[in-house]
């Protein structure tokens, strides 16, 4: 009875070919939605908050379907290092769904902690707080796998496109080339050239292109509910922070005298105003990458949360009665399809916005003194509205 809503919905959905197709596509998400929260108790209440949090946060295994002991997930390597215990590498399956201690490590709230016991049940184990504090966890988590997959896709995609350009020199683009080419031109002309300027854009173009396609691809992969998609990579603060920090470092390294002069002593402003303005400007230097980080993270995570919330409705109503669950499913799926269409747009838009803002910040940093600075300030302000 524990998985009654899904089974029931699937059985009824056979009546309708269209719906069965939709269910097939959305199955893994739905299966996940039913998972973990129950811990094997047939009457356990469905907890949408926990389900959604489980889905959008990182994990040490890649959950596919099922719940508790019967759940099926891909075990991923755990790599931990501490100065006290040295390097430890083992598969996450050794934790037995987080219930066992392995080699002095246990899984608590999806995080690896060091415990005093070497084996036994995780629930009764006592944490070794000093070792946990000095623990470097570089495990290949769900997000890291997703990251590797996207990197491999990017690598294959662009190496083949580059090869196509060499092989078909001077000819019209074909296949994948035709998909990539307008986007490359878009990033080059409308983002890099427009924001950084004709003279200096080439230096930053490789980063902007890589960032754009990395974000876009991962946004799209996040929308695919089945393995290897579905990880919330670009909605992960670690990823967006890394990208924002790269932009920040590029601004710091490449900021010219003109840029810093504007930050610390805005020309044409009375001295007493500078006491007010300079702290704001300095704050702005840090605020810009911070906003970059938050915007991408929040947009993508919100998209995942909305889609999952619609699915949660099915199971919330399904627990009341199977009929209500099915009735709500129709609307939930319709809304999810709509939201996914919107998310397709958001996936591109956020990649665009991140790259554009990075380019504008870099552009402001490398801008030559003779330019009309007010124009550029206006551009930065305008960009912030997005």
């Amino acid at each position: 009875m524990k998985s009654l809503p899904i089974a029931y919905l699937l059985k009824i959905s056979k009546v309708n070919q269209l719906f069965s197709l939709l269910f097939f596509i959305l199955f893994s998400t739905a299966a996940y939605a039913g998972g973990e929260g129950h811990e094997g108790h047939a009457e356990a209440k469905f907890d949408p908050g926990k389900m959604i949090t489980d889905h959008i946060t990182d994990a040490h295994d890649w959950h596919l379907w099922g719940e508790g002991h019967s759940s099926v997930s891909i075990p991923l390597p755990v790599i931990v290092y501490s100065s006290a215990r040295g390097l430890d590498v083992f598969m996450s399956s050794a934790f037995h769904h987080g219930e066992d201690v392995h080699n002095g490590y246990a899984l608590r709230d999806k995080k690896i902690i060091a415990v005093n016991e070497m084996s036994g049940p995780a629930a009764t184990a006592t944490e070794d707080a000093t070792v946990t504090a000095g623990l470097w966890d570089i495990s290949i988590t769900k997000n890291v796998v997703s990251l590797f997959v996207s990197m491999i896709i990017l690598l294959i995609m662009f190496m083949s496109v580059a090869k196509a350009y060499t092989a078909r020199k001077g000819q019209a683009p074909k296949g994948l080339q035709s998909l990539i080419e307008p986007l490359v031109i878009f990033v080059r002309d409308d983002i890099a050239k427009a924001s950084i300027g004709e003279k200096k854009y080439m230096k930053f173009l490789p980063y902007l292109l890589t960032a754009f396609f990395f974000i876009w691809l991962n946004n799209l992969l996040g929308l695919v509910p089945i393995f290897p998609g579905g990880a919330n990579l670009t909605g992960s603060i670690s990823i967006t922070m890394t990208l924002a920090v790269i932009t920040f470092i590029l601004v710091l390294i490449n900021g010219n005298k003109h840029y810093w002069h504007h930050i610390f002593a805005m020309p044409g402003v009375p001295t007493w105003v500078l006491f007010l303005l300079t702290p704001i400007e300095i704050l702005g230097v840090f605020l810009r990458p911070f906003v970059l980080m938050i915007r991408l993270f929040a947009n993508i995570t919100a998209g995942h949360i909305i889609a999952l919330s619609f699915f949660s409705l099915i199971f919330i109503f399904g627990q009341m009665s199977a009929g209500a669950g099915f009735g709500v499913a129709i609307f939930s799926i319709a809304f999810t399809v709509f939201m996914t269409c919107l998310e397709l747009l958001v996936a591109f838009l956020q990649a665009y916005v991140f790259t554009l803002l990075s380019a504008i910040y870099i552009g402001a940093a490398v801008e030559e003194a003779h330019h009309d600075t007010h124009d550029h300030d206006a551009k930065v302000e305008e960009a912030h509205i997005i």
Binding site: T141, L147, L154, V184, R188, T210, S238, M241, T242, L243
Partner: protein, 164 residues
């Protein structure tokens, strides 16, 4: 909140992966793609420029042709005009000459006629005079056969003289 806490492991792998892919793409993919795009754009621009130039040349050529044609047409018109003038002048000359010749012939003819006429008149006059003299001789001879008649005549003549 677990969600907004950066994870060291993920950042570590992100840095490793991202910089690796950035390095690889920067080295092997982006320069090739961007260079090809630039080259293609330049070749398209060149082709467009060449087409524009060809078009302009074509227009120039056409204008030249037009000019040549116009010149030829003018030349032809000029030649035709000259020919027409020549024809007219020849005809006029001929006409003038013909008229002059005709006039001259007529004048000669007239003069000859005049001469002949004068000669004929003179001869006629002479003959008339001769005849008159002969007639007068015969008349006088008859009328003056008597002395009366001679007297009468002399009187008549004298009368006339007095009148004057």
């Amino acid at each position: 909140m677990e969600l907004v806490k950066p994870a060291f492991g993920l950042i570590f792998w992100m840095c490793v992966s991202f910089f690796t892919i950035l390095f690889i793409l920067k080295k092997f993919a982006w320069p090739v793609i961007l260079k090809s795009l630039d080259e293609r754009e330049r070749s398209i621009a060149d082709a467009l420029n060449a087409a524009q130039r060809a078009k302009e040349e074509m227009a120039n050529l056409k204008a030249d042709n037009e000019k040549l044609l116009q010149e030829a047409r003018n030349q032809r018109d000029l030649i035709l005009k000259e020919a027409r003038d020549a024809k007219d002048s020849i005809i006029n000359d001929a006409k003038t000459k013909a008229t002059e010749e005709a006039d001259r012939l007529r004048r000669i003819a007239r003069e000859e006629i005049q001469n002949e006429k004068m000669a004929a008149i003179t001869e006629l006059k002479n003959q008339v005079a001769t005849l008159s003299i002969q007639i007068a001789e015969k008349v006088i001879r008859q009328q003056l056969s008597t002395d009366d008649k001679q007297k009468t005549l002399v009187n008549d003549l004298l009368k006339d003289v007095k009148m004057n």
